[in-house]
């Protein structure tokens, strides 16, 4: 397995990240059994973490500079904040 640092990481790094993402998905499934505003926030935080991994690592945005990182991570934060606000107001 190569240890070469590519824009898209190494195979081992990809495997570790994929495992973490699958684990977070299973956590979403099990935590989602419970309802409520706090759980909604927790599940949205997990979604932000997962989305950040896909954006920064798989899309290689961590090598693209602050502007592109900010645009995509900012989108994630904005959308999840709007959803959290709507769920909090509707609770």
């Amino acid at each position: 397995m190569s240890s070469t640092e590519h824009a898209h990481g190494t195979p081992l790094r990809t495997l570790c990240l994929w495992s973490a993402l699958v684990g977070a998905t299973l956590a979403t499934l099990f935590l989602g059994e419970r309802g409520g505003s706090l759980m909604a926030v927790a599940l949205l935080l997990i979604a932000i973490l997962k989305g950040s991994v896909v954006a920064l690592e798989f899309m290689a945005l961590r090598h693209a500079g602050m502007l592109w990182c900010g645009l995509v991570i900012g989108w994630l934060l904005l959308v999840c904040s709007l959803i959290a606000f709507a769920y909090w107001k509707g609770a």
């Binding site: 599940l43 989305g51 798989f58 509707g90």
Partner: protein
Amino acid sequence: MRPPPALPRLRAMGHDTTLTADSTPRLSGDLAVWFFILAELLAFGVFFAAYAFARMRHRELFDAGQALLDRNTGALNTILLLSGSALVVRAVQGNQRGEGRRSARWMLGAMACGLLFVGLKASEYAAAFAAGISLSSSLFHMFYLSLTFFHFMHVILGLVVLAVLWQGLRQDRYRQDANPLESGAAYWHMVDLVWLILFPLVYVIH
């Protein structure tokens, strides 16, 4: 034996996509594709916000509709998309190492994940339609069907993109210029990224 320094070796092989910690910022893929990705994210973002604010006014209706959905299938679809994305990354990494033809099999694996997603989603739609559910059944089902079908169409387009990339990898077309491969990969990851919010929003959070 310690391998030779990677950067000079890969540059000598004609690769220009390897980065080190001190590399200047570089967007993976074509700039035009990234503008397209931003437009797509914006469209999905509006859709997600509309769903959340509609639910704010009709909480019981949305919770009752959501209870009819199969969360396990939703989670399995999430894992399939994540696996597809990871396999696309492996294909890009393989191409960067000059193993274009060999990395085509990673792309084939990603396509298999995408096709399984399509199959699962189609069976979910078939079950919903068989139960008499349609766009006009309720506000929740209008959002559920339109939002997930909008994403479904993106998966179909993504599969077409992956098939083109697979063919290119088999012919080792991206050895000198990885831009088309990275652009197509970025599109597929966007489809995955959007689902990572859609899944908890529509299937889980209540």
